[in-house]
């Protein structure tokens, strides 16, 4: 089991790296468009962030427990949408950061810590800007 101190240190490092790379990060992201004009990317599912940015991720990401947690959070916040796409209650900067972490293939303990941290802090996280400001008080961020 990883100790908290080590985890915090690691998270800080990730956060710095994510900040550095922010400008270079490129997913299939686009600004909000209507569903009729949006081509469905092959092999992908789509989520929107609170700032109306569209992300398409490979279907295989759906088996990742962090992604599953994000969908659960969306369900708790907004319910399962019956008419449109899935929206996450986070902004695009935060989602990009999380996806970077997911892509780095965390070990099980780190992943669990991340999920716990997302779950326990999400209520006070309307955007990632606040998240960064409060980073020192939270387990991972």
């Amino acid at each position: 089991m990883m100790n908290t101190k080590k985890l915090l240190k690691m998270a800080k490092k990730w956060q710095q790296r994510a900040a550095l790379r922010r400008k270079r990060i490129s997913f299939h992201r686009s600004t909000d468009t209507t569903s009729s004009s949006t081509a469905a990317e092959k092999g992908c599912f789509v989520v929107y962030t609170s700032d109306r940015i569209r992300f398409a991720f490979p279907i295989s990401y759906l088996s990742n427990s962090v992604i599953q947690e994000l969908l659960k959070i969306s369900e708790e916040e907004f319910g399962i949408p019956t008419e449109g796409p899935i929206t996450l209650p986070f902004d695009s900067v935060f989602l990009e950061y999380l996806i970077r972490l997911v892509q780095r293939r965390m070990d099980g303990d780190t992943e669990k810590a991340l999920i716990t941290s997302i779950s326990s802090t999400r209520c006070s996280l309307p955007c990632s800007f606040q998240l960064q400001e409060h980073s020192s008080t939270r387990l991972v961020f």
């Binding site: 789509v46 279907i59 599953q68 319910g79 399962i80």
Partner: protein
């Protein structure tokens, strides 16, 4: 471990002549014969455990009057777990037969009694299991039952599944909804609850842009959901999210079905019975048009596919990718769906079906990740 398995109900011995199939998360029976014509069934799982159940029973509807022949169709859309919907599938038809035997006929009262006793018995099970399995108190199910008998179709509904009749009309087909639904997002259901609970300002609460009874559930009537029927379950160790902050004396949800009775005419082609997972994506008219304009073989699967294509479109993804998603996480993309299409033959093939009672059960259990 994901393992596919399924079973056919009481008509097990008929499995060779009435094969049902499983293809990934889909269970289906493309075409079969009931007392008054053909039928087609299909189900797809989205939850980690399939919560929908369904059945079709054709033949004698009493134990003591062989002249009362007909078809019974049930669609049970469970929530909070599969136990309530499975319980209904195990119990409601024998109860219907029992009450029908007492009066030697089918009637609205017989069907309502079968609903009431099924709910009562399920609540007994909840009480029995409370010390070891308290979460059973938060399991419930919608219950849609159709009985076709003696030129009449009885549609009894508790919850928000739906039965729609396809009536031929000037070269086309018109959708006639036969079921009355109980969902807080329908004005009529809200009015009913408000009038039953005039002193409870929080009987209906808007959450996620949808009305919910006590802020927790959309259906306003159901089988099960003991925590909303008896105050004795509104306490620990039931999970806090199901516990209501205030004490209640009057049951909040009821199991009473709304029953409609329709005399069938030669223009009545078929009835579609389906859980709300289908109606979320297809309108009544879209569904009857598909059935009217397509071959009978595999029609239930065709409706299922039409609904899934619509679900994929709403999520801005391809249908082929949607079908790759595993149960559990798949619930974020669509609900469990059950659809049964019952064709109505104007000239019942009585002699054939009297000789061969039919019993098919769908959805128990399909894939389980446990």
């Amino acid at each position: 471990m994901v393992k596919p398995c399924w079973r056919i109900g009481a008509g097990m011995e008929r499995s060779k002549i009435n094969p049902t199939k499983v293809d990934g998360l889909t269970w289906y029976k493309d075409l079969g014969l009931h007392t008054f014509g053909e039928f087609s069934m299909a189900m797809i799982q989205a939850n980690s455990v399939m919560e929908d159940q369904c059945q079709i029973e054709s033949g004698p509807l009493t134990f003591n009057n062989p002249t009362v022949q007909g078809t019974f169709v049930g669609v049970y859309d469970g929530h909070g777990g599969p136990e309530a919907s499975r319980f209904i599938a195990d119990n409601i038809f024998p109860k219907l037969k029992k009450f029908a035997s007492e009066g030697r006929e089918i009637s609205e009262q017989v069907i309502s009694k079968a609903f009431a006793e099924t709910d009562k018995d399920f609540l007994k099970t909840v009480t029995k299991q409370w010390p070891t399995n308290p979460q059973m108190a938060s399991v419930g199910s919608c219950c849609l039952a159709g009985v076709i008998c003696n030129g009449l179709v009885y549609i009894a509904n508790t919850g928000d599944s739906r039965a729609v009749l396809g009536r031929s009309e000037r070269g086309g087909v018109r959708a006639v909804q036969l079921s009355v639904e109980h969902n807080a997002n329908l004005e009529s259901a809200r009015q009913e609850l408000w009038s039953l609970h005039p002193n409870d300002p929080t009987i209906l609460v808007m959450k996620h842009r949808l009305w919910r009874v006590k802020g927790v559930i959309q259906v306003t009537r159901s089988i099960g959901d003991a925590y909303l029927k008896r105050a004795e379950f509104n306490r620990e160790p039931l999970l806090p999210k199901f516990r209501l902050p205030e004490h209640f004396t009057k049951p909040i949800l009821s199991a009473d079905p709304s029953v409609t009775i329709t005399r069938l005419s030669p223009q009545d082609e078929f009835i579609i019975l389906a859980s709300d997972g289908l109606w979320e994506h297809l309108s009544n008219q879209e569904a009857v048009d598909i059935v009217h304009n397509s071959p009978r073989q595999g029609i239930a699967r065709r409706l299922l596919k039409a609904a899934l294509k619509e679900a994929a479109k709403k999520r801005e993804m391809r249908y082929s990718d949607l079908t790759e998603i595993h149960p559990g996480v798949r619930r974020h993309f669509h609900d469990d769906i059950t659809v049964i299409v019952v064709y109505l033959n104007p000239h019942p093939v009585k002699t054939n079906s009297w000789a061969s009672p039919l019993s098919i059960r769908g959805g128990y259990p399909m894939h389980s990740t446990s």
